[in-house]
Amino acid sequence: MVGRFNSKYASLGLFLALTGLPLVLGIGYSLLHSTGLAGIGPKGFTPAHWGEVLTGSEFWRSLGFSFWVAACSIGLALGLALAAVVRGQERWQRGILSWLIYLPLALPAMVVAFLVFQTLSGAGLASRLAFRLGLTGGIEGFPNWVNDPWGVGIIAAHVLMATPFFIILFSNLYQSERLGEYAQLAATLGATARQSARRVIVPVLLRQSFPTLVLYFIFVMGSYEIPLLLGSQSPQMVSVLTIRKLQRFDLADMPQAYVVGVLYSVFVVGAVVLLLRSKTEKTTTA
């Protein structure tokens, strides 16, 4: 009994040492750097960098913009993937689509960003097609979808990456949760296909995939390459803002990069813990 107890805590300790410790060390170092207690240059405690980030609008706009991009990307990808799986689940399990759907997952984020740029930019494929079809009079007439303040290009790239992933996830869940049988049961009890999807299939898929969706949301919020190529100069997503502060011309901006890093980490870790705990509590209560 004691051995099992020790082994359980040893595993937990090892897990924390490999996952939590680097994170704590990183955040700790960033805290020291952001308050002037570490790093090369003027030494001595100062709250000035925190004050500048917290009272300025740049970080909050960046955080809000990152949330907007993640919410739109995940929302759209979720809708598309659910529709694809609910309307024709078999095609993702057998036939050509069952392996074609894996191909987009092999594309690096930068490649997807480049494809979107080539397609949606002013001189891109869509613009050329619109011009040929007489829909626009030239580059100027084509909508601003890349490097735009609403992040349309960034969202498009993330939807392209997330939708196949969600389709695979939902399709596998559909099988493992035997949702086909539940749908049949619902139909025998008089439910229409739409009712069966809305009341049975979709709720189960969403509940089972909730942790993955939360983590993917965080992944999109923190993405770098896609907003770097497709984003606007203002607002910038959090990762792009952090690197700009860290790597541009003014060394005095570096502590602000660490402030942004700490704040973002706290938000993200806090949100994940809260969301997943409330989910666990709900599941336990249910």
Binding site: A10, G39, I40, S121, N144, L251
Partner: protein, 402 residues
């Protein structure tokens, strides 16, 4: 529990550095001894690798040459500007005694930052036999961003900023500041500049013009002058902002996307810090054959690029030998060839051994950019680094985030 403690200790031990041998100092050695010490060593060079022609010159010409002539293995890693500063700062913070880098391609703003954090080795360039061939009388070479190089970095090449335009659409490119504003207003969406080094260098040219041109802003950073001239610069930019690419709501993040927008026709202008780039890009098929480069009458900044050795380099002898090769007549001549890189030499042709001068003078002229002798007349000196730092910050506040 003690096992977990042990694991944590192992982890922490892995994060710290074992004491290392202090880096050797090559300044006390004769050049013969430097060559001997460098023989068989590896030099880790960090440089910008954004141009295939430059990469090919380094990988296919320089690396084999230093291997063959001096037995040095040249390992090239990608990194520039602040990445170099951060690498060296992190090493210093971590208490390392030997750097991962031995040699670095640096420009003025990086030189300034590295001197700020005292990360550069030097003075060392007077130890190089080929340094006596360098045109150190030239203020565009002996001074970097208004800071004397003082032997802490070795001049390597010299370039001047040019505006690139598509002559198919732009028959008579604007040559004065007012004419540029009028052109931008008449052709909305066709002009922009990036927010990194190239774009800021362009803004500096405008700032100098506003200040009165020529040497008006030379010397140490002057807050009063900056306030006066930058206020006019922001007013000028706000006037043309709605007519810039994307209505001036955003700007390309760097030179590469700006070049891409130029090559696909979305922009009629692009900018470059390398006056030879238009020729190399047309030759590579990346720019249309109608691309041309020019310098407006208000001038453009000419600057040099340099090689620096980190204070903590473990192979200063090897780094010095490589740097000496890079400024040799043969390496500089090869580098200046249009089809190789087209980078301007830092050597004084009058100081070269007799057989070399005609070789430099008979190099093929470029087709799409004016000759260097013409550009030289419009060359402006780099400003003190604080101008760039302030312009980058204020441009964001005054223009991008408005």
């Amino acid at each position: 529990m003690h096992r977990i403690l042990l694991l944590a200790l192992v982890f922490l031990a892995a994060c710290t550095n074992a004491p290392q041998q202090p880096a050797s100092d090559a300044t006390a050695l004769t050049w013969e001894q430097v060559l001997q010490q460098a023989q068989g060593s590896t030099v880790h060079l960090m440089m910008w690798q954004g141009d295939p022609l430059i990469n090919a010159y380094m990988q296919r010409y320089v690396a084999p040459a230093v291997k063959e002539q001096f037995g040095i293995s040249l390992e090239i890693a990608s990194g520039q500007g602040n990445a170099i500063v951060q690498t060296l700062m992190t090493e210093m913070e971590a208490g390392k005694t030997t750097s991962e880098l031995d040699l670095m391609w640096i420009n003025g703003e990086t030189f300034y930052q590295l001197r700020q954090v005292d990360a550069l080795f030097g003075p060392w360039t007077d130890r190089l036999p080929n340094a006596q061939l360098i045109d150190f009388q030239n203020p565009f070479i002996n001074t970097d961003f208004q800071q004397p190089v003082d032997g802490y970095e070795c001049p390597w090449g010299n370039v001047q900023m040019t505006l690139i335009y598509n002559s198919e659409f732009v028959k008579d490119p604007p040559r004065r500041r007012e004419a540029l504003a009028a052109f931008v207003k008449a052709h909305p969406g066709k002009f922009t500049f990036d927010t990194q080094f190239t774009g800021l260098t362009f803004l500096k040219s405008l700032l100098i013009d506003i200040a009165g041109g020529g040497n008006a802003l030379d010397g140490a950073f002057d807050e009063k002058k900056y306030q006066q001239t930058s206020a006019q610069l922001w007013a000028y930019l706000r006037e043309i902002q709605p007519y810039l690419w994307k209505e001036g709501k955003t700007f390309p993040d760097s030179r590469a996307p700006m070049h891409q927008l130029f090559s696909n026709g979305e922009l009629w202008f692009s900018l470059t810090n390398n006056d030879n780039e238009v020729d190399s890009k047309v030759r590579q098929g990346l720019f249309p054959p109608t691309a041309r480069a020019y310098v407006p009458d208000f001038g453009s900044i000419q600057n040099s690029h340099y090689m620096g050795i980190p204070k903590l380099s473990g192979n200063k002898a090897g780094a010095a030998v490589v740097a000496n090769f890079l400024i040799s007549p043969e390496a500089q001549l090869e580098k200046q060839k249009q089809e190789v890189w087209g980078d301007g030499t830092v050597l004084d042709l009058d100081k070269l051994p007799a057989e070399w001068k005609p070789k430099f003078e008979s190099l093929a002229a470029r087709q799409y950019a004016p000759p260097r002798s013409e550009l030289q007349k419009l060359a402006l000196r780099e400003l003190a680094p604080e101008y760039m730092i302030r312009l980058a910050k204020d441009f964001r506040e005054q223009i991008i985030e408005q």
